[in-house]
């Protein structure tokens, strides 16, 4: 009975959350707080990135500290393509310029593809290691990406690239902040639905099994590597999409986006919200970004306050805020 109560509470909260997200632009208009819309959009985008990390961290048990690299790759594809369309130079001297280099239907899948390929290559190497080694190796790959972008003098080096406008999608005016917000919301919810199906499928059971007990999984006849690598690629490519959205929102990309502290922030969002819970990382992203925004208004040393708060949550709520709200103590049946 207790469990049913918690389930009910969870469903009510999630539904209320979704309704709130759907009506937010309208509500902000109503109270004349439109400036908050860009913060909310950013929370959705980081929610998408954190959810993709949740797939490999929360369900697959892979603690990656290089997730921002995928976002950076996605973002730079947008930036570089746009840069060429302004300067009318063919990309890498090969692709003909002008045609579609600002078209989202072309650029966004390309960005996801490249982020996915990068995940495939680095995953194939790093997934041969475990624990601390895996953390360090993902960190090292991400730093390589960071220094690579810093060294791209043609594309602004460490200053990055500014865009003149957002990418275009047929039938949608992405320049309109409300339209852009709803696009981000749809992509996020779409991915969460996909993840819901994936983690409940046979594939998902093997993936979670590899987190729970690799020895037992192997003795049953499964080779965990392939399941992990595939999830890693999917997570990388979705993080690439989050990068695409972030750069479109801010109309700016720089190597800072791939810095390891960014990866750390995404990791914290997942831990804060609740790893292995479908909506946990979104909750984590929202709380993290809003705390950051409001604490920064009072003090520039906001990390001094946020830091201990995070440590408390991670120590006392192992399933994050999500479990604190919706799970019975200890999370047992």
């Amino acid at each position: 009975m207790k469990i049913a109560q918690f389930r009910l509470r969870q469903n009510v909260f999630c539904l209320a959350g979704l309704v709130l997200l759907a009506l937010l632009p309208w509500l902000l208009d109503l109270c004349g707080q439109q400036y908050l819309l860009s913060l909310a959009t950013r929370a959705l985008i980081y929610g998408l990135a954190a959810s993709s990390l949740n797939l490999i961290l929360g369900y697959g048990g892979m603690v990656s500290l290089g997730h921002a690299a995928f976002m950076g790759i996605g973002g730079y594809v947008v930036g570089i393509m746009a840069f060429h369309s302004y300067d009318k130079i063919p990309v890498f001297g090969m692709l003909p310029q002008s045609t579609g280099s600002e078209n989202g239907l072309l650029v966004w899948p390309l960005a996801m593809l490249l982020a996915g390929i990068f995940a495939l290559i680095t995953g194939a190497i790093s997934l041969r290691t475990k624990g601390m080694h895996f953390i360090m190796i993902t960190l090292a790959f991400a730093q390589m990406v960071y220094f690579f972008f810093t060294s791209l003098d043609a594309y602004g080096g460490s200053d990055g690239i500014s865009l003149y406008n957002r990418n275009t999608l047929p039938g949608l005016d992405l320049g309109n902040d409300q339209v852009f917000y709803y696009l981000c919301l749809s992509l996020l919810l779409g991915f969460l639905f996909l993840m819901h199906r994936l983690t409940g499928s046979r594939f998902g059971r093997v993936l979670i099994g590899s987190r729970e007990n690799e020895q037992r999984l192997q003795i049953l006849g499964f080779a965990p590597f392939g399941y992990r690598l595939l999830s890693y690629c999917l997570a990388g490519s979705v993080a690439g999409l989050a990068g695409v959205l972030l750069v479109n929102q801010g109309e700016f990309v720089s190597p800072g986006m791939t810095h390891w502290t960014r990866s750390g922030e995404i990791l914290v969002m997942v831990l804060l919200g609740g790893m292995g819970k479908l909506f946990g990382p979104l909750l984590g992203a929202v709380v993290f970004l809003f705390l950051e925004e409001y604490l920064a208004m009072y003090t520039e040393h906001w990390m001094v306050i946020l830091g201990p708060f995070l440590i408390l949550v991670v120590l006392y709520a192992r399933g994050g805020l999500y479990s604190l709200l919706f799970d019975r103590k200890g999370n047992h049946d």
């Binding site: 994936l198 037992r216 049953l220 006849g221 047992h332």
Partner: protein
């Protein structure tokens, strides 16, 4: 004679300077229940790890159902029909009993790269899993998390998962360790029922169980097999009595 299910030839393993298995030759024939006994630290668990591939052998070769598996990985050997239970319980602790068994069932139903259809409620998994749970007596506990089972129930679940993959060779590492007399008897009954249908290699300290269940017994002492034979022969073997059983029995 029939071809052996499992054949070990000259298997040797050391950890650093410590020789844990020395020139092991062992045959398991179809349908037999072969017990492996020996004092603590004799190398029994290590030998099981060598058979499943969790540890690589330093030298020697293994064949399983007629094919050479010396270089095969753990999951490849499992796919060929090998299953085991662990001395230290090894389960998916956040999964329910049903989910544990269903994951094992899934392993023998072709590719698990299936991404969309929910695994929960899939009759192809539910039905075989239900039969296994009924068989090991865990049907009433189907929706309990493995972490919340009693020790005895966890041992039964270990056994159920091993059976769910329909193995031709079952390796059991002290399945009755830490069980009360009731559960112990229950488990011995389970093993008795399996006898004859599949080959079993049973590591066990409970001598009553071993001598009543086994068709043949091998005695491992300090990494060497000092005797293999029928229970009566082992009981009367003076070398075994001296090295292991201590007093004549």
């Amino acid at each position: 004679m029939t071809e052996p299910v499992l054949q070990l030839r000259g298997i040797t393993k050391s950890f650093g300077g410590l020789k844990v298995c020395t020139d092991i030759n062992l045959q398991i024939v179809p349908g037999e229940l072969h017990a492996l006994i020996g004092p603590n630290g004799a190398g029994k668990t290590t030998l099981l790890n060598l058979i499943t591939g969790q540890l690589p052998a330093d030298s020697g070769s293994l064949s399983f159902n007629g094919s050479d598996i010396t270089k095969k990985s753990v999951h490849e050997r499992a796919r060929q029909g090998m299953a085991r239970s662990f001395q230290i319980t090894s389960l998916f602790t956040s999964f329910t009993v049903r989910e544990n068994i269903e994951l094992a069932v899934q392993a023998i139903q072709g590719s698990s790269y299936r991404f969309w259809r929910p695994a929960a409620g899939d009759p192809e998994l539910e039905e075989p899993a239900g039969k296994i749970m009924a068989r090991v007596g865990l049907l009433e506990r189907a929706h309990i998390r493995a972490a919340n089972l009693s020790h005895g129930e966890q041992r039964l679940l270990e056994m159920g998962m091993a059976l769910a993959t329909r193995p031709s060779l079952l390796l059991l590492d002290e399945p009755m360790a830490g069980l009360g007399p009731g559960s112990s008897h229950n488990l011995a009954q389970q093993i008795m029922e399996l006898k004859g249908s599949i080959a079993i290699l049973l590591v066990e300290h409970d001598m009553n169980a071993v001598f009543s269940l086994a068709d043949r017994i091998s005695v491992l002492v300090q990494g060497s097999i000092i005797a293999t034979g029928r229970p009566r022969e082992i009981r009367n073997n003076p070398e075994v009595q001296e090295a292991y059983l201590g007093t004549p029995c």
